[in-house]
């Protein structure tokens, strides 16, 4: 019993690692598919042959593909991410502060969004088909159909332009104190919270309703148990697995959704860096950012799977 559980988790871990490996291969291959090669991309069309050769040597382009891949992978694992093609700065330096900014933004949003959405989701599930439920369902459906940037701009219009409560540009620098930081990220956090709460709440509601229609809930009710007890003892433990899943998947979504929001609020985070680098075709930076985003996403999904295996005995014995 214990062993089968361990094997299952190990399998899942192996799949996660495999995915990360394939992602890194794909990212390197992508660069290989460039017309010409990286040396040409750096120096441009009119480079001399000598200069090209020198750069190729520096970047190990003379060595075969698989050797280069492992050299690159080794560098990455030592946090040596190469240098930017545009301004020759170390990618690791470029990324460091931005990564912490992005994490700050995402975690602020998560801390607010998770309790709200679970609470609302539970209420909507308990009082389903009531007016409250209908209002919430309609509101969240609308929020989901609306692009993130519209939510962001509406918030700017209301809170920044009309009432002047929060700044519409979220500039932060490393020497900001916590309070100033929180003030600066207020609007992007609100945007993210609105978008994520809509998703999370809907899924939480669906998960709880799914549990509430089970026969054992009916049995508990019929034997005269109090409503609150039924929910605490029978519904919640069984709904826990899907809810954990929902939360983690939405955290993963948060990591990606951050990109658009950062651009709207000109927030100096990783997402903005990624978008900038894509339009400048600054490949080392794109590779690094892409890898960070992708691995965070994969890790979170992995966590979701493992947690739900742990929380749900039935999943431990796949047929």
């Amino acid at each position: 019993m214990k062993d089968s559980l361990r094997i299952l988790i190990l399998k899942r871990l192996a799949f996660g690692l495999l995915t990360l490996f394939i992602i890194s291969v794909l990212i390197t291959l992508g660069v290989e598919m460039l017309p010409g090669d990286l040396a040409q991309a750096i120096l441009g069309q009119h480079a001399t042959t000598e200069a090209l050769a020198a750069i190729r040597l520096e970047l190990n382009l003379d060595r075969p593909l698989h050797v280069r891949y492992f050299v690159w992978l080794g560098d990455i694992l030592q946090w040596d991410l190469g240098t930017s093609l545009v301004n020759n700065r170390e990618v690791a330096d470029l990324i460091a502060t931005r990564l912490s900014n992005t994490l700050f933004l995402a975690s602020c949003a998560a801390i607010i969004a998770v309790p709200i959405s679970i609470f609302l989701g539970m209420l909507a599930a308990l009082y389903r088909e009531s007016l409250f439920d209908k209002i919430i369902t309609m509101t969240t459906l609308t929020t989901i159909s609306v692009p993130e940037f519209l939510v962001a701009y509406i918030l700017i219009v209301i809170l920044s332009v009309e009432f002047n409560v929060f700044p519409s540009m979220s500039y932060v620098s490393p020497d900001f104190r916590l309070w100033d930081r929180l003030y600066a990220v207020a609007l992007p956090v609100m945007t993210l919270v609105l978008v994520v709460v809509a998703h999370m709440m809907r899924l939480t509601r669906a998960a709880i309703i799914n549990v509430l229609t089970r026969p054992y809930i009916e049995t508990a009710q019929l034997k005269g148990m109090k409503r609150s007890w039924v929910i605490m003892y029978h519904a919640l433990p069984n709904a826990l697995a899907p809810i954990i899943n929902v939360i983690v998947i939405n955290l993963a979504y948060l990591v990606v959704g951050v990109v658009v929001v950062e651009v709207v609020f000109v927030y100096p985070g990783l997402g903005q860096l990624l978008v900038d680098s894509v339009s400048k075709r600054d490949l080392p930076v794109v590779q690094a950012c892409g890898l960070i985003f992708a691995s965070t996403y994969v890790m979170l999904n992995l966590t979701a799977d493992i947690l739900s295996i742990l929380a749900n005995p039935r999943l431990r014995h796949p047929t």
């Binding site: 992602i23 159909s145 519209l150 920044s160």
Partner: protein, 287 residues
């Protein structure tokens, strides 16, 4: 309600050139001229003939800019109509493509089972483990931003989702007796897929088409908004929002119009999908 919204959009899509006096990239007036809502209706401006809104100042091209102008003085309504044309047709092409490929592979995996199913499913698993926006951004950075690249990338990402659904739905059908009967009759795989599985899987797939279309549409808009989708001067709702976003800080709300148009269309489609699903479910209850 949902149908009305879709109809309006299709109308705009088909008749864009007829509906407006300007062309897509023509500069017709000053920067960020306000639209009709800002027409000054106080007594001295209003002439005696016609209602107040008709008195919107003619701009120098001799037409009226109902919704005002954008950051370099192009007519917003015109760009909105052409944008509908570009974005919606692009999204339709992509969704169509991903459905053809995704359904073909999904049905194939469900009918053949065995190693075909295994291989395709694992590839899809890996693609789905990758965050879509990041995947698209990386590919676009390597291949550059052009319409064909855009179509291929988004269609590929979307195909994985279509594959999952069509495989799951087809799995249920392939175990039915009539499919077995057809196979015993000696029908080929193509025939089984086309004549037995396709008609029976249609309702959920049609509903999915609507949802996927919304997803693709929002995705293109997000990419364009990031400046990596359709390139200027082509009109696109996402990039229109981005181009004009500076205006918001000055209290000019023109950029909200295309953003609202995006939301309007996706909500409309969601409503229709909801209605369709309820109808499909209702029919089943009657049997």
């Amino acid at each position: 309600m949902g149908f009305l919204i879709i109809a309006i959009n299709l109308f705009a899509l088909s008749f864009a050139p007829v509906l407006t006096p300007f062309t897509e990239t023509e500069i017709v007036g000053k920067v960020w001229e306000p639209g009709i809502w800002a027409t000054d209706c106080s007594a001295e401006v209003v002439k005696s003939d016609g209602p107040c809104w008709a008195q919107l100042n003619d701009n120098r091209m001799g037409g009226k800019s109902w919704l005002g102008t954008d950051h370099i003085g192009r007519d917003l309504l015109t760009r909105l109509l052409y944008g509908a044309r570009n974005t919606i047709s692009l999204a339709l092409i992509i969704t169509g493509l991903s459905f053809i490929v995704g359904m073909a592979f999904g049905f194939l995996a469900a009918t053949m089972r065995g190693w075909v199913d295994q291989v395709v499913s694992r590839v899809v698993d890996i693609l789905m483990a990758f965050p879509t926006l990041i995947f698209a951004l990386i590919v676009l950075s390597v291949a550059g931003t052009s319409i064909p690249v855009l179509i291929v990338v988004i269609a590929l990402l979307d195909t994985t989702r279509v594959f999952r659904l069509s495989r799951a739905v087809a799995m249920d059908i392939t175990v039915m007796e009539y499919v077995e009967g057809a196979r015993l009759r000696g029908e080929g795989i193509m025939w089984v897929m086309w004549r037995e599985i396709l008609p029976n899987t249609l309702p959920p797939l049609v509903a999915e088409f609507g949802l996927r279309f919304c997803f693709v549409f929002l995705f293109i808009s997000a990419l364009s908004f990031l400046g990596l989708g359709l390139q200027p001067p082509t009109a696109d709702w996402g990039s229109m929002v981005q181009e004009n976003s500076v205006a918001i800080s000055f209290g000019v709300y023109n950029p909200l119009i295309p953003a609202a148009a995006i939301a309007f269309l996706t909500i409309g489609i969601n409503l229709v999908v909801d209605w369709f699903l309820r109808k499909a479910a209702g029919l089943r209850e009657e049997y």
